[in-house]
Symmetry: C2
Subunit: 286 residues, 2 copies
């Protein structure tokens, strides 16, 4: 919605000057594809929330949850089979067997903390927050072991201002281009140690200590770099009661830091995380 | 976001009179819990989408996806078991076996149409739309076989105006109060025929022919009434390329028709639907 301040300004203007004179055609031109018929409604209090969302664009940040995708641990890919079909039964249902931490998914506190909060009871308000995208793609192309460092966060703030309250801070490493190859995405060496970028522990600790974030996100298989054996970032994030999104997709479409991210995770019972729909909301004309 | 019109009004006012004089404390008071630090940003174009979502409230419309919940067909409840645990392995992952159409979930065209669109390729823009809540709870308390009728849609439009483009039209029957009892929620008679409310075929056909909806939703186990043997509403909705949400929760919190609904469904591969996070976005002070 418009902020209360903006609403006040508009209300005053309308009280003083009356409603602007405009045609429906102008609405359509001004408001983009979906906003047209509802642009007028933004001036009517009872429809303001709907007008606001109608004027938003939605961008998918999720990979398809598929049986042939890369997973952190080999063997944790899901399986699916037809249970009933339209042809034989009149309708179609698949039966899935899945491990929670595969695909575009989220780690919640209980993933690493024995008494940590589970998905089903986690506050829904904390699943929506401004996207902050930290671009380390150039470094990652040279060095797969690179990490998000405090200097990267400094550089972002110098360009964009302080990381806002409730932010979901995303590492964009460009790793997504490897998604279609299990081998390239996991990138193991001869000893089986994986090599892909993640958050460095210093950057994660700084975000938790100095900024009021909701969570973090990476476009790789793990919040920690692939060669981590201590999972410091997982432990720090989960201990702080925050969440971390793994295998986020399509961050290149929200590099301008104008979007908000919503974490659409089903309320998996007693769970430390699971398959999710991650999307970005942004101005329709972004 | 604010409509382009509102932005124009505010821009003109600021150009004429300068930025209003306000303190951060006032922001917090005006903007609600999360909006405080970002209210100012709504005047800065590059942050407008974030300010807008920061000023929105989020309400959960989803039941917990649980092993003891009611399902349309007995035996389609999910199972879960610990795969690794924090105590034994350092982190916690559950393994689930699930049937797609259980819990708060969504039916997409492929659920009833052999070549219908599947979840993984369905347009993400169509997962967000204004909530229209049709209240038939009083009738449902007397008659579990009651249905949403064209007259109910007429009555809603008389009170609220035309059902907007992109709407997600929800049946509120009050059936949710039975969710904790499999027997009461399914409500089978001596012959095993279930009795609970749903959309009537005439109402569904009218919505599809006369209004530009994105989907429908019910707070019961099926889009059709429990005693349906022909599934007319399922067939109509799926044939039209729309979706239907089943077992939606908490509609009583958005009865004022001010909210928008987002369908957070993971991109289940090749699927006609599956477990989802359904939420409502609304003004923070609703």
């Amino acid at each position: 919605m418009c902020s209360p301040l903006v609403e006040k300004i508009v209300r005053e203007r309308i009280q003083k000057e009356g409603l602007p004179n405009f045609s429906r055609r102008n609405f359509l031109k001004l408001g983009g594809v979906a906003a047209g018929g509802l642009a007028a409604a933004s001036l009517i209090p009872q429809r303001k929330a709907q007008a606001q969302t109608a004027a938003m664009g939605v961008t998918d940040l999720s990979h398809i949850f598929a049986t042939e995708m890369p997973t952190y641990t080999l063997g944790e890919t899901p399986t699916r089979e037809p249970f009933v079909t339209v042809e034989a039964n009149g309708f179609f249902i698949q039966r899935w067997t899945l491990y929670e931490h595969a695909g575009t998914h989220v780690d919640f506190p209980a993933h690493f903390i024995a008494d940590g909060e589970t998905v089903d009871i986690y506050p829904v308000e904390n699943l929506l927050g401004p996207a902050v995208v930290i671009d380390i793609a150039e470094r990652a192309a040279e060095d797969p072991d690179t990490m998000v460092m405090p200097e990267d966060l400094d550089a972002w703030e110098s360009a964009n201002g302080e990381i806002p309250a409730g932010a979901i801070v995303c590492m964009y490493s460009g790793w997504e281009s490897r998604w279609s190859s299990i081998q390239d995405f996991r990138n193991p060496d001869a000893d089986g140690v994986m090599h892909f970028p993640g958050f460095g522990p210093e950057a994660a600790e700084w975000l938790l200590a100095e900024r009021d974030i909701y969570g973090i996100a990476v476009d790789t298989l793990s919040l920690d770099p692939g060669n981590s054996t201590t999972f410091d970032v997982h432990v720090a994030i989960c201990s702080a009661g925050k969440f971390g999104i793994e295998n986020i997709a399509n961050l290149s479409s929200i590099m301008n830091n104008q979007a908000s991210i919503f974490v659409g995770i089903p309320r998996w019972q007693g769970s430390g995380g699971g398959p999710s729909r991650i999307v970005a909301f942004h101005a329709a004309d972004m």
